[in-house]
Symmetry: C2
């Protein structure tokens, strides 16, 4: 059971507050209750938030932890002056010294995710998601020139979640192609991919884990059979080695770690890294 | 042209460092160059990072801004003692006071995204992505009992990106159904959805914006025609109103804002909000 509540307060979605707060809380061996209070953009809502926090403090007999990313100073002040929680003001803490170093004032602009929906960056991101869906699982060979990254690997090696993550979070157009028995027999990459070799990245996986994942989808099938998985993985790895394609094993990696490694290796031109 | 470089240094993917750093930088009217330095997990790599930062400092004649989320103290110390950038140590700043409040020591555990790939939470998330893909665009009526959220709306109102975001970031199983002329003629929701009304959330959009988006996909089609878009949107909104379904307009909202509002309204049981 939780014995401590953590609040995430923001003028906007609260996603930044929660992302950062979760990263910090992961450093402690506790399982607190999470309460996200998004869109706290008026003094009225600030007072409501204070009441909730102080009520929780009384009930639990412990200070709630309160992460805030508030940029509206009158809202922030109400929380600061009245809340009985432990306040961790993420913006204030870093923005003041940055104003000094940069020699300019901060904008007090609400939320990174507000007012972006008509921006070029945002429409590019939606387009990247659509591209990646249209090019999932080898569905389309069209417009591969437009792809930033092309993932290859056996079925269920992690291509689809990785493609969608790169599209959603980095705005990259990612196509993905399964490597299948026909490719192994021909001992070559799918021909449509040959001209785009520089953008190709391979995913592989331990056969034992692959068999387990496939068995959840199609129990007892040849597709999921360990011997078959061993064969497919060995063929795919041999092909990637022969073709000089960079690859990694996804077996113990999260989508975020896979995506980060791909970005480091492929270095898509459109990213300013 | 950029005149300042920002580094994001992490023992892990650097995603937390960059998410938070971007949110802070969005408060300033500058366009810095971004350099993410992930997986800095040895003293050797720390020295390499320092050399890069100091080289940049010399070239630009300005202190680079350096966001770190390092938890390995010997790595952090090397950066602190040698780097000529402005160091913003996001973890250290908040973890020390939290140790005091919580009365326990922090774990110095690397990266929220490391060693998670075999956890229940992580496999649930992958399953949520697969569910949402399988239930995209009304493809399947199966297993709607297992859905956490069901989105409805006319084609291109934002259902697919929102579904995938909720799956990827919140681990929710999200089905989405287009509202089509047959539904409008019948003046009822798709029959398969009726038993799940509590989980349904509607997306709508301004006809002018919808027509613009559809024209990018199918220029000059009846599908994209403004009069047709007006008709579809009016029918869809009337139907949602009649059925007592909660809905919002996505016209000027980002995926993050749409998702946050849906979570507040639907409050899926599986989330601990």
């Amino acid at each position: 059971m939780h014995t401590r509540t953590v609040f995430f307060i923001s003028d906007g979605t609260g996603i930044t507050a929660e992302t950062f707060g979760n990263a910090i809380l992961a450093q402690f061996d506790i399982k607190p209750r999470h309460v996200r209070l998004p869109f706290i953009d008026t003094e009225d809502k600030a007072h409501q938030a204070v009441r909730r926090i102080n009520h929780t403090a009384e009930l639990e007999g412990k200070k709630p932890i309160v992460f805030t990313t508030l940029v509206n100073m009158s809202v922030l002040r109400i929380i600061q002056e009245n809340c009985q929680g432990m306040l961790l003001d993420m913006f204030g803490t870093f923005i003041r010294p940055l104003e000094g170093e940069l020699g300019i004032k901060s904008l007090h602009r609400v939320g990174r995710f507000a007012d972006v929906s008509l921006s070029k960056e945002y429409t590019d991101r939606i387009e990247a998601i659509n591209f990646s869906l249209d090019h999932d699982d080898g569905q389309s060979h069209r417009d591969l020139n437009g792809a930033d990254v092309i993932l290859v690997g056996v079925s269920r090696s992690g291509k689809t979640p990785t493609s969608l993550y790169l599209a959603m979070q980095c705005g990259l157009k990612v196509a993905n192609y399964p490597l299948i028995p026909e490719d192994f027999e021909r001992r070559q990459l799918p021909p449509a991919l040959e001209p785009h070799r520089k953008k190709i990245f391979g995913l592989t996986i331990l056969p034992e884990r692959l068999s387990q994942i496939r068995n959840e989808r199609r129990p007892g099938s040849k597709y999921a059979d360990l011997a078959n998985c061993r064969h497919e993985v060995a063929e795919a790895e041999a092909m990637m080695r022969r073709s000089g394609i960079r690859w990694l094993s996804t077996t113990t990696k999260s989508i975020e770690e896979i995506a980060t490694t791909i970005l480091q290796e492929v270095r898509p031109e459109r990213l300013v890294y």
